[in-house]
Structures are given as C-alpha cells and as structure tokens.
Symmetry: C2
Subunit: 415 residues, 2 copies
Amino acid sequence: MALIVHKYGGTSMGSTDRIKNVAARVAKWHDAGHQIVVVPSAMSGETNRLIGLAKEIMPQPDPRELDMIASTGEQVSVGLLAMALLAIGKDAVSYTGWQAGIRTDSSFTKARIQSIDDTRVRNDLNQGKIVIITGFQGMDEDGNISTLGRGGSDTSAVAIAAALKADECLIYTDVDGVYTTDPRVVHEARRLSKITFEEMLELASLGSKVLQTRSVEFAGNYQVPTRVLSSLTDPLMPLDEEAKSGTLISFEEESNMEQAVISGIAFHRDEAKITILGVPDKPGVAFHILGPIADANVEVDMIIQNQSVDGKTDFTFTVSRNDYAKAMSVLEAQRESLGAAKVLGDAKVSKVSAVGVGMRSHVGVASQMFRTLSEEGINIMMISTSEIKISVLIDEKYMELAVRALHKAFNLEQA
Amino acid sequence: MALIVHKYGGTSMGSTDRIKNVAARVAKWHDAGHQIVVVPSAMSGETNRLIGLAKEIMPQPDPRELDMIASTGEQVSVGLLAMALLAIGKDAVSYTGWQAGIRTDSSFTKARIQSIDDTRVRNDLNQGKIVIITGFQGMDEDGNISTLGRGGSDTSAVAIAAALKADECLIYTDVDGVYTTDPRVVHEARRLSKITFEEMLELASLGSKVLQTRSVEFAGNYQVPTRVLSSLTDPLMPLDEEAKSGTLISFEEESNMEQAVISGIAFHRDEAKITILGVPDKPGVAFHILGPIADANVEVDMIIQNQSVDGKTDFTFTVSRNDYAKAMSVLEAQRESLGAAKVLGDAKVSKVSAVGVGMRSHVGVASQMFRTLSEEGINIMMISTSEIKISVLIDEKYMELAVRALHKAFNLEQA
C-alpha cells in the first residue's frame, strides 16, 4: 500500500463526463489498495471567466478580492469530483485549501505555501477515505483566502505530497510526459522515462511548459518523486502499466550517470536582443542600463558586457519579444544620460539550449554544440551557460534547423 | 450615525453593471456617515448553474458536497462587490460565512444559524470599512461549509443585523414593498408602509414571497427592524427618501392599533382538497390518515374532522396541488386498512386569507368576511383561523372575485 497524490488539470476536469472519467481512474487506484489524495484544477475556462468578471469591475483587480473570486473555481471542482466518487460507491470528501490546513503568506494572487497541517487529511486517509483538496490556494494567518498564481495547482499537489510524505505525486496532464524536444519541431523526439528535477527545472523555465516551475522547485527541495503522465488514456487501463507511464522526475542522480550526457533540447522562439554601443565603462554601468528596464517590469534573460576598449564598452542583453518595443523606448530615453553612442535592436532572434545533468561530468558538450551549429552554418550571437545547460542565441530563421541538428548530434532519438 | 445592513438579491447582482449600481447605492449610505454591512446573493442564475452541474454527476447530490459547490456563487458576488466599491475609492472588504464567524448546525443544504462571532466585522466597521458578507452560508463546528437553503441570504442578512444589533436591515429586492394584496389581481392594492412581523410571517407563508419565512421569524425573534424596498430605483436617489421607502416590518404593535383591522388579503391558488368519508371515529384516526401522507413527504395545510355520527366521521385536509396525485394514491392504498367508505378529491380549490394583527382586538372580522363572500355567492368549503388570520377554501374559479371583494370590504385601498 502506498500513499499517492493525483493532480488533474483543467482540461481533465473540463466537463461532468470528464470528471466521471477522473473518478473512475482515482477509484481504480484506491481499489488497488492505495491511499489517494486528489488535487484537481478548476474546470477549463472557469478561472478565466472569473478573472474576466473581476476585470469588468476593476481593470486592475484588488489582489485579495481577486483571490476570493478566483479560488471558487477549484472549490466547485473538488465538490463535483467528490460527488462523482460517491456516486460510484467510493467514500470521498472534499476540502478547500483552508480546510486542508494549507497556510500561505499574504502575497495575494502569488502566495507561497508556508506550512500544511495534515491532521485532518491523514485522519480521513486512515479511515479509507479518498480526499480531494482544492489546488491553487490556501489561507494566510489572518484567515484570508490566497491563491498561488497561474498553474499553482501543480505546486499544491507537490506540496501536499511533501507534507504527507507521499510515495509519489502523479501529475495527469494533456501531454504524456517530457520529451527530448518539441515533437512538432523534431519528429524523432523521444519521451524521457526519467529526468532529474534540475533538468526539469531548466526545461520548464525554458518554455517546455509541462509543469509550473515552482512545483518543480518544491519537488526538488522536498524530494517528492513526481511523475508527469497522460490523462487522455483509458481510465481503466491496467494500473501497473499506468504507474510506469509518463516521465518520472527523479532524485537518484547516480542512475542518470549511465544515461546520455544531454537529456533534451529546449528552445524559446520569441526573443529579442538589444545592444548599447559605446558606453563609458565605469562602475555601475550595468545597473544604470538595467535599472530602468526592471522599473518598466521587463525581465532580462542573457546579458553580455564586452571587454572595454579605450574606456568604452558595448552591452548586450535579451528580453522576451513582447517587451522589445517597451525596452527600446526606455533605453532611447536614457541614451544621452548613459553617454552611449547608439542603441541597436534585433527582434528576430531565438534561444536554443542543451540541458542535461550529464554535462557536469562530461567535458566537450559545449564544443560539440558549437561544432554542430557551425557545420550547419549557423552563427552564434550570444552564449550563456549554467552547470547543466548551455544556451545560444541565434537568428530566428535557423531555430528549427538548430534544434534538429543538435537533437541528432546528441543522439537523443535513441533511448 | 447608524449601523445598517443591506441585502441585495440575485437580480440586483445579475451583471457587473448592476453590481456597480449596488456599489453606488452602498457608497451613498456610507458617505452619509453610516456603518454599512452588505449581504449579496449569488449572481442570478449562478446557483442554478452550480446545482445543475452537481445533478449531472449525482442526481441526488450529496448534501455536504453540494454545499461546497453551491456556496461559491455568493463568494464570487462578495469579491466583485468589494472590488466595485474599491474601484470608486471606498474602503471595503469581503468575507465568506466562515470568515465572518457564522456558525451553523450540520444540516447541509438547510442549515440553521447557531451563532455569529462578530469580532472581525465590528473591528472593520470601527475602522470605517464597508464589510461585505456572503449570504446563504456558514460553517459547522467541524469546519465544513454549510448553506441555509434557497432564499437563505435574507436570513443571513437579518441574522447578521441581529448579531450586530443593527439599527435597520434593508432588504433590497425587485418589488418595492409589501402590498395589501397582489396588484395583478386587485388594481387598487396599496403598498403598506408598515407591517408587524407576525402579519409578514402570515403573508410570507401564504405565498406573498417577498421574504423568506425564516428570515421573518429571525427578525421577529431578535426584533430586527427590517425594511423591504426596491433595488430598481436610481441608486443616487436622495437617501432620506430611500430610507422611508418600501415596507417596514415593525415591532411597535401599539402603532398598529391605530391602523386598519386587516392589513392584507393573501391567497394561494394551487390548493387541492381530499376527503375521506365514513372513517371509524376512534383514537388515532388522524394519525393513521396523515402518517402515510407525511411519510410520502407531502405537507398538509388545513385539516377538518367532522362531528362523529354513528361512530363514523369524515376527514378533510388540503395539500399543495403539486402533491395532489401522490396524496390520493397514498390514501387509496390505505383506504381499506382505514376502514373508510370512500376517498374524494378536488384539485380546483384555492385559499384566500385575511391577515391583520388588528383582528386580535376587533370582533366581527370573521363575520364581515363570511358576509362579503356570501353576498358574492361564493361557497366556503373549509375555514381555518389563527390569532391574526382567517383563511377560507373556495372554488378556484372564484378566487380573484373573492380577493377583490374582501380587499374592498376591508377598505384596503385607503391608507
């Protein structure tokens, strides 16, 4: 007997028929003798409907009141799922975040879980009940309802699994796992049966949006074995088959040592690059350039400062393409006070990254990557590296070519 | 400065524009220096939508889980109304039933309020905040969400007003008060500026559904001055005019002594009458007849047992027309074991009632009523009386005639 946490996304909960499917799947796990906690999202479209109503009244909704409203989508879901289980003869009970003891800070609309008092849930599990808990929300110390922000139900599920010391947290979603790259770009992309949470974190933050980044951090910090798997399979498929499906985010790094050096190729198409030429190279120059950008709520990704020549330097950074126009106008306004000669921009660039914990212990990943791109005639504009990732910025028109070439060069089509 | 509780129904909260209107009205009262608590219903249609979803999953929804779901409609409403007030610069905060300290029993879907801890609300009011509290719901002693049943927001508002010892509870609704009878039947029907809670109780239970019966009981038990008034007026109409509009449910009986003997003529069109002929008149006969009826969940209203002749008696009672077929089949099945000769039914009868606290101290109300009906050639089938009400059962086809004649006979068209 194991204690398993299931999480279902909005699409899986999208209609009463789909909710009945979820109930059938959950019942199958419970029938096999496991203790089950389920964390469902709001029915698809519901959270947007609620936020839409709020914005009709207050274009910049008050965060506390927005959480009061937005949290109701999950409350409806848990009640419906509990009923769907009761209707097929399973003993089930639903709880809101506050009822389940989920305490957060007071950062409404982006609250962080501080603690979970699992007394009530554990009692129910010991009585053989299936417990359904709202994702996405909790209660602050003053008894206000808080939400964790978009995708927060993933984080709720992993946090609840951590608090209960669950054996596994199963994230049911509309993809069947994590791939070596986007199958729409590389036909030979392969599903990974296992990935480390650090690799998952890099892939998630690089735009492979299978799991909310914070939930992966949580899984890493609390060592919660977490599996991403499909909710589109037959709910009555054999349990032992389902239990091995999808992609497991693991914490046994040694097992990965055997594996490939690189786990996947991630990419981010919509990047933009901005260069400030001829800035006087004195202390604080980076802050003086990036301060106004941050003040305009623009997030900066890659940053390069060139070797200074004659007391002048060039400074280049990338932003999301959505923020390009805003960032350019901020800098144009600052150009004179910065003493810069010129501001250049290029909004047709993309980022491609090779990710893998294996590269920690293998030299030559970077050179293999650069050789492959060079052989395809692709110029590298910027490079950034971390312990388990190398990213390059290239011309947008070469992005698919680069992803396919790297996927092949690192043999990712082979298990 | 007074402490005022406002309650708004689902129609008043039916769209974001209407919610802005409610906010404008509430702000006007707050600007005049009053402390304001608002209890809004769910947006019109929302509770039905939620119950519909539940029934798709479980035709007889589990009561606890249904309350989990159904309570969200009001939670959305309070958040939206708080935002609408914040958007026009008023300091407002919303609370669910459990946050506002509303403790109920555990009779899910028809819970009763047991206590209200008003500490939090009172603190906010003292800080000048407008407090918005969900109607229709509370929390039981185990921390489960409970609802008070249909129309429960009226009861919430009056109960909150009682707990806070509010100066007045204003129930804003889509009628502009309580009338001497239904204006659709009697054109001369007049709005009453004042009515006692006992009269209101009789009128409400007789089908003039302006207020939920339990809310009127609450108002009576806790002596909460409660006013029914229109939410369809201009929200910016002068406050002193609005404060005197509608109908006040009062507790100063002496002031009513001056008023008319009869306050209103109520009616209930859809009645049915059932007679059991020739039942042996022995102890327990009423129970043996009505027990199976109650077991079938049929509510009985008027009851008559005739004077016994030769050890046999006739027994007549009325039920709502919806329950007529069910009640008849229950009795037909019981006829032999009751030793009854025959069961007769008539589904085309209506009830007309004259209501007024004034009749306590005035003799002759009954005879005036009977004379009037007799002059119109209307036969009375059954009579029942209480301290402040006389009801007669008549042929359905005479109902409007009876109401008009009685309205005129008691001079109700004159203030």
